[in-house]
Symmetry: D2
Subunit: 399 residues, 4 copies
């Protein structure tokens, strides 16, 4: 018997229907939780709607700083990309929501949580694995897997029947299923279900097209401390400020659009379009600062493990012990990742034009130089190096 359930509530049509449906089906009290993680929509309106639906306990929170500081930045320390392309914008927001759902359940004495993710997607997995890892005996109610409102028509009929106002944003404005937070906005569904069809230009919301971006480039200097950006053009910023700013200038310069077919954890391929302007800038810059501050083998170790780490995040294992172990190693690798990167943004391009680290640069011109190095490097050493590396192949070739 479920007595009280914490619902991840956006204030939109779908979760408003869920709110009602939970009350009716489970005869339980619903606590709503609405977070500002940078999706770019007001969260306060959710309060009134929740109240109107009879909700007594309403949580509305600004989690933007926590989101970027504790989730986005740690992920970028690993140069994380899923399947060679995707910057994991949706994936990385779910663990934070899962954590808050569980914490609110603890605070309010709720015995269940609920969310509006469908049974076909990755998000259900991310919410639920997180919740179970943090509170193993929590009950999870996933209405999309339970009810029979499996088409837009049925949903609208249900809304009408139960007096839920349907002039809600998402349902109206877009033929796409969208998700947004400070790292990205995503689009699925509609014509995107045909992988040969290009997305319509008016789908994109955060970026101008490269074609429409300004004819003049924008130059940025990003300062890194321990692998995280702490200042832009000399101006200290908080993590959320960094990402907001980079989203703005990145978006203005047509940066960060992505259109791909990805493999979902639940087994099917799925087409998605993403806008990740700030993240695209951060990834490029982070690799650049690492290129002069990271030991080669440390960098290669990170590269070797990156796809595994990306999988963990994509599949919803943020709160798993193996992700935490990998994070420890990744974070430890960043101690010397300090310095500055100069970038040029221009019509969709992120161009590194300089990288420097006052105290941690491993780039040693005296050794690398093509000019006379005055004995810093003994070229004759290379002969022995090659000879011994070749030895096993020579022995084999002699057979």
């Amino acid at each position: 018997m479920t007595k009280k359930v914490v619902l991840a509530y956006s204030g939109g049509l779908d979760t408003s229907i869920i709110l009602k449906w939970l009350q009716d089906e489970y005869h339980c009290e619903v606590v709503t939780f609405t977070a500002d993680i940078g999706q770019g929509e007001e969260v306060e309106p959710a309060r009134m709607k929740a109240q109107a639906a009879g909700t007594k306990e309403i949580y509305i929170e600004d989690l933007r700083e926590e989101f970027v500081r504790d989730y986005v930045f740690p992920m970028f320390r690993a140069n994380t990309i899923y399947e060679g392309e995707y910057l994991l914008g949706t994936s990385i927001a779910r663990p934070l929501i899962a954590k808050r759902l569980v914490e609110i359940a603890n605070e309010t004495g709720a015995d269940a949580i609920s969310h509006g993710a469908t049974g076909k997607g990755n998000d259900q997995v991310r919410f639920e694995l997180g919740a179970y890892a943090l509170k193993p005996d929590i009950k999870v109610i996933a209405p999309w897997r339970e009810w029979d409102l499996n088409s837009r028509e049925k949903l609208l009929a249900y809304a009408e029947q139960h007096g839920i106002p349907i002039e809600m944003k998402r349902g109206k404005q877009s033929p796409y299923s969208m998700d947004a937070n400070l790292l990205h906005i995503s689009y699925e569904g509609g014509i995107l279900e045909e992988p040969w069809a290009a997305p319509e230009e008016d789908m994109w919301r955060w970026t101008v097209s490269p074609e429409k971006a300004p004819d003049n480039s924008t130059t940025l200097e990003l300062e890194f401390v321990k692998g995280d950006i702490v200042a832009i053009d000399g101006q200290a910023m908080t993590p959320a400020q960094v990402l907001s700013y980079l989203n703005k200038v990145g978006g203005e310069n047509g940066i960060g659009r992505l259109d791909l077919v990805e493999n979902r954890y639940v087994g099917m391929k799925s087409r998605g379009c993403y806008e990740t302007p700030g993240g695209s800038v951060m990834l490029k810059a982070h690799r650049a600062i690492e290129s002069i501050t990271l030991d080669r083998e440390v960098a290669h170790l990170k590269d070797d493990l990156m796809p595994r780490y990306a999988n963990l995040i994509y599949n919803g294992y943020w709160w798993s012990p193996e992700r935490e172990l990998l994070q420890k190693m990744i974070d430890a690798s960043q101690v010397n990742v300090n310095g500055k990167v100069r970038l040029k943004l221009y019509k969709g391009n992120v161009i590194v034009t300089g990288r420097v680290s006052e105290s941690n640069s491993l780039f040693d011109t005296s050794i690398a130089t093509f000019e006379d190095d005055e004995g810093a490097y003994n070229q004759k050493d290379a002969e022995g190096f090659i000879k011994l590396n070749a030895l096993r192949m020579r022995i084999a070739a002699r057979l």
Copy 2:
């Protein structure tokens, strides 16, 4: 006692000096080998220069098709990138040169080979590991590691002293150390030895800057068979034709510039700038066609092993048994990588706008759809999937 040596001879100043130096120091006969691998310079002039220097056996060969078909394409089947950025343009040409040097040594009865790579770089390793793997008892003469001509002045003095014409191309025209083949052109040295300094615009040779690229985009349709491009815009092409064409349209659209600091196998960091217009297009397109034709776990296995495979190529282990094993697996993965990718090239951007595979698409709209799937996928299955994946974490959390 070396009697005859096969020299990788470009016809430029450096290898002309080496040619003379080998004759003088080793009192041996020199066979010159000059290959057209798409570096964009005439190879025939090398014949006269070699003859003028008294060379009797002169090999001048057009290896462009072999280079792309047997080296570049196999590498791109793995989506190979070194250190997250570098497309391995120089690395992939060396094994072919090494192989031909050895074959020519066998044909001409030479007991040694020689090359013009310095003792600080990766290329010496790539040439020599290849040679040793293919002919274990070959002698390798690497003049840069032996002689004391370790500055431009000494080289020029030597040339003058021995009557070697110094109006040679490379020494004159550029302050950079360059290397080119059909896949890319690279720049090192000069002001690039300062990682904070941006390269000068007039350094770049194969691409226009994104700023100077046309205001109209170019659309391409690439057809893949077993992971390789076999036709562009409906026109069948050989491998070298494919790459030449993509270099042309890529370069015109400002695509493929790269500026990075990389880790050399011999232990130091080094700044390099690269132009890889065609390769940049191919990588993006190959990932796109794989995204609909490759099984998820096969794709992930490839991604997990890619950095290792890239290391092998970068470090010169093309002819090693471990590279050959990996290649077998990579090639086997490409059997179903058939179909078409539509791309838009615009001012430095390579934008995928469609991918389709008539007979090998694993993208199943009937399952992926957000609309009613008529039972193709049972959403309730997700509950068990999540529950069992969560089980180990729940047990741990209960402790």
Copy 3:
């Protein structure tokens, strides 16, 4: 509507109950499939029992050679061990059963298959992943996940009620849940559910204890061709003969007992005891022949991927494309794994006392020797080798 189902039928109590239950619950025809994969029990009696239960289509097959040749041997080429200890004896038999179930379904026009594996274990996963991979629209009936006969008492009551003779072997003789095939016999349940409790001596069936093994050792010479054993002590043998013989001499010498706690794919830890006498001998011998015939980096590549390959088999992904790709690479690595290994078996120990390969040994005494090597190896090469390998660390340490 299920019309005909192929049942993996052992002839034992559990699957006899399932046979009846399928007829009653699904009102469908049942085809029985009983295979001899070396479990050490007669399979013919299953025919009468199946007939007595009204089965019209009865498949009874000797799959021992196919099992060892196409499943066990390929797995041993990779030196496969799960979680550092387990030789995957149960796991490797399931794909063969799954394949035959599907083939028989195709032959008999059945639309479903059924098996007697519980919903808690790995075997259900292995059967069903295999079946779905080979025949995607097959229906799978897993009675243990459906019925309410979830205790021994209920099972026996059902048997009695439906006239199923309960003087069956497995239920009677052992408090353990057992599984056997030519590679191993396994024990679970009973007192093993307490990990601090040692198994009782009389549990073990295939091996004597080391204490009771003979005081004299047994010496064997195993001959390998392409990584597989083809002869023992000069006597050519088929794969199943090899494994049978090694089981016999291994078991007599107290070899191959294992007692461990392992992690199941479905999420819980489980205690298992295993006897794998022949497999234990094969693993040790295979590593020994590889030690002289395999290139170092090939061996390391195999070692790096082995746990992943083991996971695939343990988790039931034998028929997956990623396992097949890995297998291609593993098999290709074995081309030169030819030669002989001498072993001593003594009271639980498998001791390698010699390995030799006439045409494929990479062990080169002239280089390895501590004596004067007459210039085969230039010790001075080591200095350059070390210097360049140290370079990155020296640059870092200077900071």
Copy 4:
């Protein structure tokens, strides 16, 4: 100009010759460093010999506790094995020696270090990589790579000529090249250079043969805290005491002999025999305690990375940043590895007979049980788990 060199001095013939040779060739002062790392020979006699040779600064140290605590135990936390067999007994001692050589160089103002490892082996690499990583501008003198005393005869002649007493242990007593420390003793050379020849029984020094081991087994209870053994049979012990004790009882029971062909970092294969009685016990026990306390995916992550970590140690990269990063992760994984393991030692066998962890066991009988679990695990969940894991393969199979 080398002024003062710190020599890793065993007091044996070889390093006594080196001591003299350094004085003569380099005209420099020599500081001797002799460490007791459990090799089982007195270190004090080295003092007199060093004094007799005119050494003014003599370091003689008991490093056994440091060796086991800071090197052996951390390595065993990873279940480290090189090439499937070798427990890295020699490899793990070198980093400690390298560190002390550098520290003593710092203390005594020496500008160089020297060691007695040959140019063919791994040990030179381990010493020198360590030294360079810790003190990048140290000079390393490796006499075996420099001098022409490349045979036993020449060495003895040199000794005689310079009045070095040759009644030294190692040269006399064994035809094998040996190395010992608290973890193991190794044998190379002599008849071992023929891989088909079994070692002679009288070669082994630390263990009796299984045949000669007692007819009664020995039972041990090992207590682990954070992955390290802290007590045996209820008796608290220091790390070195633990290993000494296990060496003793292991050796008495014929445990820990190993005979293999391994791949050296310098490129050749080499035959080695090893006795690692205590280490063999520790490895088995550590896996057993991890089997109930470690999360599955953490265990698999460790297993996947183990060969890489083993390579780092084998190849001499203990003091590299990548080893240190991996160690951080490994150590972090051990927080919950607490509990007891019961073992039986018998004639070469290490048999786990129980494992228990009061507060960290993840083994949950209520879920694992074959009996009625009263709803702890819902078998129906398995269906969805399998269905979604199979989905990608089903889609592919439908093509």
